[in-house]
């Protein structure tokens, strides 16, 4: 048996002991995870610095802060989320119990990504644990140091049989994908997403795919360009542009292009100093392969700001490109780097047309003071999420589902959405063997009269209000009968 097979087999065996079923057990595991983040901040930060050149504060803000909030949210709400959820009944099942029973799926595979390795690997894991599953965690091998830290630390804090960490590259991942899972949760790119879906097809395994795309950012010429550019600069260059929901490119009218360039330039200086290379708050491209990929995109575009780079350091300066055409290299795939192309468009119509020519992105941004513009953009496009007048922050609202559509993904998560996504919501009807007389109408031999009753009873759903009205009607009828009998007869 291969190492991967063993880990999955052990996880399944551990799941079958039933110990992850109790809500108390799940909460304990989540509390242990909480302790990992409060006790091991230094090791986590050191690894992230090596992988992505993030500062300790940056690492906390972008990675672990969100996770800590998520774990707290889960601990607070898990009992309620895992409890049976009652639903409407019909007349015939009035005396029965009808509810949805959230149950674990079994063994979940979580495949993480390298750009926010803790956030995108652990957040699904939190959902998997909370829903009562076992979970095999496969961190991205691209963020070498962080994946080592995950491999070392997770087994110390959480049940190492139920939640094994399996590290490795493509061959190890392929071996994992040959095993049977009850759900596969993948964060990454759409090419690998298709491979994952195909592998899942063999075992009829449901998947959640958190992919990416080119998230457009439209700037209305009438908006406060200074504020808009601040928010966009922050959204774009955080983590050196390596964010699945980073504003990928800007669409605006030619008349404001120069202003936009000026404002972005100003903000770059404000955030990352005159020399971003020496600024501790500015990141690096993850590795040389991606460095080359991003640099190649500059070939046929005009650099308005930045462009400086250093291959040995995987450094690319915050860069803005001007007068970019839709055919340009930089517009052919998700940039995932610190290049911000500006495509001049003559109108909102043209912007919408251009956006709809491409695949549905993970996020869509529009900056405008005019609600009509916002509504048109929202109504005439499709994307995973939609954010007006800012970038990225919709990610931080746990009550909003986070996920893609079309090429940007399948399924959503965060908060309760994670819990539901990684659970089986089992429909339950608990009846008694009594009231058999009522059932008579559905049994053969069939008669038209029985059919009439069945039509009425079985198929009319009822709510308390209706019952209340019927009860009231019955009461009125009784009162009327008494009155009639006493006074009129």
């Amino acid at each position: 048996m291969s190492r991967e097979q063993q880990a999955v087999a052990r996880a399944r065996k551990a799941f079958e002991t039933g110990r992850s079923k109790s809500v108390e057990y799940r909460i304990n595991q989540l509390k242990n995870l909480q302790r990992l983040f409060s006790e091991r901040q230094k090791e986590i930060a050191a690894a992230i610095k090596k992988d992505l050149n993030k500062t300790e504060v940056g690492a906390q803000f972008y990675e672990t802060l969100g996770l800590e909030g998520e774990i707290s949210l889960f601990i607070k709400n898990l009992k309620e989320w895992a409890a049976p959820r009652h639903v409407k009944k019909n007349l015939l099942t009035m005396s029965d119990t009808v509810y949805i029973h959230p149950e674990p799926l079994g063994v979940v595979l979580v495949i993480g990504a390298w750009n926010y390795p803790w956030a995108v690997t652990i957040r699904p894991l939190i959902g998997a644990i909370a829903a009562g599953n076992a979970a095999v965690v496969k961190p991205s091998e691209v963020c070498v140091h962080t994946s080592k830290v995950m491999e070392d630390l997770l087994p110390i804090y959480i049940d190492k049989e139920l939640y094994p960490v399996v590290t490795g590259g493509v061959p190890e991942t392929q071996e994992l994908l040959r095993q049977k899972f009850d759900h596969i949760f993948y964060t990454g790119n759409s090419t690998v997403g298709k491979v994952i879906m195909e592998a899942a097809a063999k075992h009829l395994t449901p998947v959640t795919l958190e992919l990416g795309g080119k998230s457009p950012c439209y700037i209305d010429k009438n908006c406060d360009i200074s504020i808009a550019c601040r928010r966009i600069t922050w959204g774009k260059y955080s983590n050196c542009g390596q964010t699945c929901i980073a504003p990928d490119y800007i669409l605006c009218e030619p008349s404001i292009q120069n202003r936009v360039i000026e404002e972005v330039k100003k903000c770059i200086k404000e955030f990352y100093t005159d020399n971003p290379k020496t600024c501790p708050d500015y990141g690096r491209i993850i590795n040389q392969r991606h460095f080359k990929r991003v640099m190649a995109m500059l070939e046929d575009s005009n650099i308005a700001v930045g462009g400086e780079n250093d291959e040995s350091d995987c450094y690319i300066a915050p860069t803005v490109l001007r007068d970019v055409k839709p055919e340009a290299k930089v517009m052919q795939e998700e940039i995932f780097g610190p290049l911000l192309p500006i495509l001049p468009v003559s109108s909102l119509d043209e912007a919408i047309k251009l956006i709809n020519k491409g695949e549905k992105p993970l996020a869509l941004y529009v900056f405008s003071p005019d609600n009509k513009v916002i509504e048109r953009m929202r109504d005439e496009t499709s994307s995973g999420g939609f954010l007006a007048n800012d970038c990225l922050v919709h990610y931080s609202v746990s009550a909003l589902p986070f996920g893609g559509v079309g090429n940007s993904g399948i399924g959503c998560y965060h908060g309760k959405f994670s819990f539901d996504r990684l659970s089986h919501l089992r429909g339950c009807l608990v009846k008694k063997l009594k009231m058999e007389g009522v059932n008579d109408m559905r049994y053969p031999p069939h008669t038209l009269k029985k059919l009439g009753w069945a039509r009425f009873f079985i198929l009319n759903t009822v709510d308390v209000g209706w019952v209340g009205r019927m009860a009231l009607l019955a009461a009125l009828v009784m009162v009327a009968a008494v009155v009639i009998q006493k006074y009129l007869l």
């Binding site: 504060v57 940056g58 803000f61 802060l65 607070k76 639903v87 409407k88 009944k89 019909n90 099942t93 949805i100 029973h101 799926l105 079994g106 009850d182 298709k194 879906m197 195909e198 899942a200 097809a201 009829l204 449901p206 992919l211 601040r230 922050w234 708050d281 709809n356 109504d379 499709s382 994307s383 939609f386 007048n389 800012d390 922050v393 919709h394 609202v397 589902p401 986070f402 089986h424 089992r426 429909g427 009807l429 608990v430 009846k431 008694k432 063997l433 009594k434 058999e436 059932n439 049994y443 053969p444 031999p445 069939h446 029985k450 059919l451 069945a454 079985i458 198929l459 009319n460 759903t461």
Partner: protein
């Protein structure tokens, strides 16, 4: 005749023209669908009788009324389903508008099966229309009369630009699957489901799979054998056992079996008379091929046929049959039966029975008959299945408030009622921020500092809301 790609292009153009977006349009289509069913009830019943010899009662209940019920549910609730759902926020986003918007996916494909050819095609269609999509409808060619009827009626009642019926067998379906859809809804078998999933993977198309499995029926503890027999017979032999949620096999102790079998025999006579083949209330097997498969199982079983067993090839008839002394490795325990044969395995302990069910793939439904609620609880908590019903069969399907779907080999995703609307929608997170409070935003901009971080922790935590 239009080619498949022409059909798809037409529907995609219609979707992009945004004609399916307004509530009024969706309502009109759903209302027209309702008229389609109402106006043609007789033809529907006749077609189902041709295909499956379905008794009128069964056809009305399980193919007409259930569809009408879903239509009523959709029409009553469409407005509220389409409303944005506002969500709770943290302090940093208190002044923003945060909501979830249900949006159509685009052009979706619904592939129907032959056993409830109306219900299992039209109920998903209701969800797809309500959610604002254009739909390619592929009825099963096996239930040929219903296939013909649906092909004739849909273009008469629904917008031809937005909804199209595509017909054919395996070859045509495979060709259809090469196209790009925004969702595929498939009801049928595991083997074909794998093909559907592989085709979907090419385009990253999300899928709903409504499959089947061997739905176990455990009978333990104190039990009213007569009441149990009534409900068991009804749910097992409805549609001659050709239901994805029919109780497939029974597990019980010898004593229960001894009490159950005479009760089953009596109920069968009460329901269908002494010559069941002559009863108008018993269906037939859908095709000779399926009949042969079922007879093959009966011939290979090492159990004892204690009730029924009669058959008639020309009539595609198999009598409601009960087989006892069935072992775990019997032919009847290999695959989903999907026919009027009920094996009873005698296993003395409830624990052993539960263990047996765990060796099999997760089924679409799980049944337990018992007057003891502790038995019901034990089975519920030690099993996994699409749905669960105690002391009855099938009827949990008729409740639109319950999500109807499988788990593991019995499928994924679910529908019925509101769940159908959600299955065909994209839940888009929408956040509308204002221009004010830019100073507050400064907390997140570089240069980063520990102080800024502590403030951020506070404003973005869910706890901070309770102070407000």
């Amino acid at each position: 005749m239009e080619s498949q790609s022409q059909v798809l292009e037409r529907l995609r153009t219609a979707f992009e023209s945004r004609v399916t977006i307004p509530e009024k349009f969706r309502r009109t289509q759903l209302t027209n669908l309702m008229s389609m069913i109402k106006d043609n009830e007789e033809q529907i019943v006749n077609a189902l009788h041709k295909d499956l010899t379905k008794p009128k009662f069964e056809a009305i209940l399980s193919e007409v009324e259930i569809v009408m019920n879903e239509l009523h549910c959709a029409l009553s609730n469409l407005t509220s389903w389409m409303q944005p759902e506002y969500v709770s926020k943290n302090l940093a986003t208190k002044l923003d508008e945060c909501f979830v918007r249900r949006e159509p996916l685009g052009v979706v494909l619904i592939i129907g099966p032959w056993n409830y050819p109306m219900q299992l095609l039209i109920v998903p269609l209701i969800g797809a229309i309500a959610a604002g999509n254009c739909v390619v409808i592929k009825p099963s060619e096996v239930s040929a009369a219903t296939d013909n009827l649906i092909t004739e009626l849909i273009p008469k009642y629904l917008s031809k630009d937005c909804y199209a019926v595509v017909r054919g067998g395996a070859k045509e379906t495979q060709a259809l699957l090469k196209n790009r859809f925004d969702h595929i809804f498939y009801t049928g078998s595991q083997a074909v489901a794998r093909v559907v999933l592989q085709a979907a993977a090419v385009h990253l198309t999300p899928v709903t799979l409504e499959l089947g499995g061997k739905c176990p029926c455990l009978i333990y503890g104190r039990v009213n054998a007569t009441a149990a027999a009534h409900r068991l017979v009804w749910s097992k032999f409805f549609n001659a056992g050709q239901s994805c949620v029919a109780p497939d096999y029974v597990l019980c102790s010898k004593a229960t079996c001894d009490a159950l079998v005479p009760a089953l025999r009596q109920v069968l006579e009460d329901f269908y008379g002494s010559d069941i083949q002559k009863s108008p209330d018993m269906s037939r097997i859908v095709t000779p091929k399926h009949w042969t498969r079922l007879m093959g199982l009966l011939n290979r079983t090492k159990g004892k046929v204690i009730v029924g067993g009669e058959h008639d090839e020309k009539d595609r008839y198999i009598a409601p049959t009960v087989v006892v002394d069935v072992a775990e490795d019997d032919a009847l325990m290999e695959e989903e039966i999907f026919g009027p044969i009920l094996p009873i395995l005698t296993i003395e302990s409830l624990e052993e029975s539960i263990k047996l069910t765990k060796t099999k793939e997760k089924p679409l439904a799980f049944y337990v008959f018992s007057d003891e609620s502790s038995v019901v609880k034990k089975v519920l908590e030690n099993s996994s299945s699409g749905g669960f019903c105690s002391n009855d069969g099938i009827v949990h399907m008729a409740l639109p408030g319950l999500p109807f779907g499988g788990v593991g080999n019995s499928g994924f995703g679910h529908y019925h009622g509101h769940w159908g609307f959600e299955a065909f929608s994209h839940q888009r997170a929408v956040m509308l921020r204002g221009w004010a409070l830019e100073k507050l935003n400064a907390l997140r901009y570089p240069p980063y500092s520990d102080e800024k971080l502590s403030w951020l922790r506070w404003t973005t935590s869910p706890k901070s809301c309770s102070i407000m």
